[in-house]
Amino acid sequence: MTVTPLGIPRRLLEFTIDGEEARVPEGSTILDACRAAGKDIPTLCQGDTLTPKNACRVCVVEVEGSRTLVPACSRTAEPGMEVRTDTERARHSRKIVLELLASSVDLSTTPRVAEWIKEYEAEPDRFGPDAARLNEEPKIDNDLYVRDYDKCILCYKCVDACGDQWQNTFAISVTGRGFDARIAVEHDAPLTDSACVYCGNCIEVCPTGALSFKSEFDMRAAGTWDESAQTETTTVCAYCGVGCNLTLHVQDNEIVKVTSPHDNPVTHGNLCIKGRFGYQHVQNRG
């Protein structure tokens, strides 16, 4: 277990969620408040270690007095606000957003999305067989990462994690616009020709599996990836003195990937190339 600092005490403010009184610390988002109240709001682009981008719009809720729906992940709660999370209007938008996404990209490796598609009765197939899809081949240009943009929902998390929110490498950007917008490195180059430093922090935050470890990608392709057979062990990285936490995902006595606990006050889920990928020596039994 990691120790989470308590932070400065904050004033509580009061508002209502679905008619019930809610009290949350000042600065909380509507989503924080909803989760505290036990409401299950679907989210895709929201990330627990990143500033909300509110790009996917699957978390929209109704706020009294607002002309449009409001993204719960980024709007901060205000005193007296009347929030309704489960209205027909909000459910309709969530359903359409799920249909639009599922009809254009491959969500097969996106956690929980199948459950939401069922809950909101989304029918991604109803746009017809000719509905435009990304249909892109995975980009495999190095031994560490695979970029499978057929699964990318353009949540901007990788851009933010690589950019000024964490890594400050700025190797990733959104290019083009509209339906043709894509995540890419400069000049659409292979990763090996880019500014990428292979920290893997983009993989850490990717919500759909569009960015994945080569190890995971290969095992999925071979049909040997089995999360239920994996154990997770959190330990301390041995490379330097910072003391970052590593979570080793082990299947059949082999490390298959390395993540980092998001609630760790040192790393916030981020690692460097050595911590993330430098584990071969552990299992090199030559």
């Binding site: 719009r57 309709h92 083009g176």
Partner: protein
């Protein structure tokens, strides 16, 4: 930041284009030749925060390269990034965002042919086909079909841009195949565009307020502007003081003319009272709404009026720097405004001490590069700052955190130009024009199948029928599009709709930015609706899902029902409605929220697929 730059080098010409904008590099840290490395280079690094503060030069830098070469190579982009300490991935993301830039090699001459509503109705597709067959392959001209060029009164329209030093442009409108090909092949010898006043059928009418100088005054002469009453409003503003100006504007009842109809006085007051400094003034001259061309005509025909109005707005709101974000497809408006700013600066009407009143104010022009979304105020801020023109979520609102994160007032050209009569005639007299809730004069951009298309000025409250009467509506009127592609269609039996914000709202439609496009029964409605859907799909920034994918799904549905009606179209119309509703409810900005309006109105009011 530890930025990584590739190995690609700029050509001498690309380097020269960037250096002409930014000056020669000071050290090898920012791209000077390694051979010329000076001793100082070894001891300290230029760059860091000071260089990053120039991030807003990215868009001008991309223009500089694109203007000189015609496209933006890897070497050129990397060099610009070195000069500005901008990560190449981000600059690439910005360069690929704008339609006027290319990151792939292309011919030096690009001929943009408008295929939007007014031009489509005037035969743009035949024009394109004709041009393409005349030019053929290897002509050295890249023909690009594109969105509205803002020349709707002279549809169909084409704009030729030839890269070089200096870049040359030529407009052909109304365009024939021969004229468009001439403009592209010899932009220097293409005939001069008709005067801006040609777009104002009422030009010279003494009853005009906003348009009174268009066609009367010499747009290049500051003296002529002053001889026609110019700069009396600014003098009046200095007499009143900032708070007095805001009071007058508030009392006048002036509301924004860009479409949202927000009270201008309230916006100014909210910005002026922000404790955070500096304050900025932004004039939104990125009019890209298909069917809108009033800002172009104002800037081309009476440029000093905008300079004066911006100065007043800056004075009232406590700004010392104004930005005029002008759409890149308006070369003549850019030339005229540049000239006007230079003259005003030279004569002490801009600069450290405007009119000797101790107020410092200057205006910088920022050229857009082909992105409708940049007309959205927060997307415009991002564009000026050198980021992708994606809208920000609100709150916080621009009056609190706008351009560069500072309190910003943003108004469009027509709104600002209204401030001059407010100050000259006084708030009560101004408020007496129009109706109680829509005060003042209003400009309407009339185009499509009418005899005299152009900009018309009428007091709020005139009916749609009266306006069309003035413009010479033709027999067989089928539909009128109010408010542009983001607006809505009305039927020919609804011409008594009063042209006010409240009147159009009561009639279940919108005045939007003042677009009135008439279509007679020769115009195929389904094809028009397809074009509107295509426009929004093309112009969506792609940031949020409802708009990015929703516009695509809607266009697909419209393609499926292009030749269908009744029961055969019912399923797809239901689909359109469901997607449209989510786009309106859940999109981040106005583009996605309004993208479905026009098509919905065509289905509901015109019975487009019955």
């Amino acid at each position: 930041m530890d930025l990584h730059f590739g190995d690609s080098k700029p050509t001498d010409e690309e380097r020269a284009a960037v250096d002409a904008l930014l000056g020669p590099p000071d050290s090898s840290w920012e791209g000077a030749d390694r051979d010329e490395m000076r001793a100082a280079d070894l001891r300290w690094a230029r760059g860091g925060r000071a260089a990053r503060d120039r991030r807003d030069q990215l868009l001008p830098g991309l223009h500089a390269i694109n203007d000189r070469i015609g496209w933006i190579s890897e070497g050129a982009l990397d060099y610009l990034c070195r000069r500005l300490t901008v990560p190449p991935a981000q600059a690439y993301g910005v360069a690929t965002f704008y339609a006027m830039f290319s990151v792939k090699p292309r011919p030096a001459t690009v001929l943009h042919v408008c295929t939007d509503l007014a031009c489509a109705a005037a035969g743009a597709s035949e024009l394109c086909a004709g041009i393409e067959s005349r030019l053929g392959l290897g002509s050295g001209v890249s023909v690009e079909r594109g969105p509205c060029l803002g020349l709707c009164e002279r549809a169909p329209a084409a704009l030729a841009i030839r890269a070089g030093d200096p870049v040359r442009t030529a407009v052909s409108a109304p365009a024939t195949v021969e004229q468009a090909v001439l403009a592209a092949s010899a932009p220097d010898s293409a005939p001069e565009e008709p005067a801006a006043a040609m777009a104002v059928p009422q030009a010279g009418d003494p009853a005009l307020t906003l348009l009174r100088r268009v066609g009367v005054v010499d747009p290049s002469s500051l003296d002529d502007y002053r001889a026609h009453g110019g700069y009396t409003a600014l003098r009046r503003a200095f007499e009143l003081g900032p708070a007095g100006v805001i009071r007058e504007v508030t009392d006048s009842g002036l509301v924004g003319r860009g479409g949202a109809a927000f009270p201008t006085g309230r916006k100014w007051q909210a910005t002026a009272s922000q404790p955070d400094h500096p304050h900025y003034l932004v004039c939104n001259a990125d009019e890209s709404e298909p069917g809108t061309f009033k800002d172009r005509v104002l800037m081309e025909g009476d440029p000093y009026a905008l300079v004066e109005a911006m100065t007043i707005a800056g004075y009232a709101t406590g700004a010392h720097q104004g930005y005029l974000y002008l759409r890149g497809e308006y070369p003549r408006a850019i030339r005229r405004m540049r000239h006007a700013l230079d003259q005003a600066r030279a004569r002490g009407l801009l600069g450290d001490d405007v009119l000797g009143q101790g107020y410092a104010f200057d205006i910088e022009i920022r050229r857009g590069a082909g992105a409708y979304i940049c007309g959205e105020e927060t997307a415009l801020f991002n564009s000026i700052e050198g980021h992708r023109g994606e809208p920000r979520s609100k709150p916080p609102f621009p009056v609190e955190k706008g351009l560069f994160g500072k309190p910003t007032v943003e108004n469009n050209v027509e709104t600002l130009v209204n401030v001059l009569p407010v100050l000259m005639m006084g708030a009560p007299a101004y408020a007496a024009i129009g109706t109680e809730r829509s005060t003042g004069p209003k400009l309407f951009c009339v185009s499509g199948t009418v005899e005299r298309p152009g900009i018309y000025e009428l007091p709020f409250g005139a009916t749609l029928g009266e306006l069309l009467e003035l413009a010479g509506v033709r027999a067989g009127l089928r539909a009128v599009l109010l408010g542009g592609a983001a607006g809505g269609f009305v039927r020919p039996d609804e011409l008594d709709i009063p042209l006010t914000f409240e009147g159009t709202r009561e009639a279940g439609t919108t005045l939007g930015s003042g677009v009135v496009m008439a279509f007679d029964d020769t115009v195929p409605l389904p094809r028009l609706l397809l074009r509107i859907a295509e426009f929004f799909r093309d112009e969506s920034c792609g940031q949020c899902v409802p708009c990015r994918v929703g516009t695509v799904r809607q266009e697909e549905a419209l393609h499926r029902i292009a030749d269908r009606a009744g029961a055969a179209a019912a399923d797809d119309i239901a689909l359109l409605r469901e997607v449209g509703r989510a786009m309106r409810d859940a999109s981040i900005c106005g583009l996605g929220q309004t993208a479905w309006n026009a098509v919905e109105s065509a289905i509901d009011r015109l019975g487009a697929y019955e």
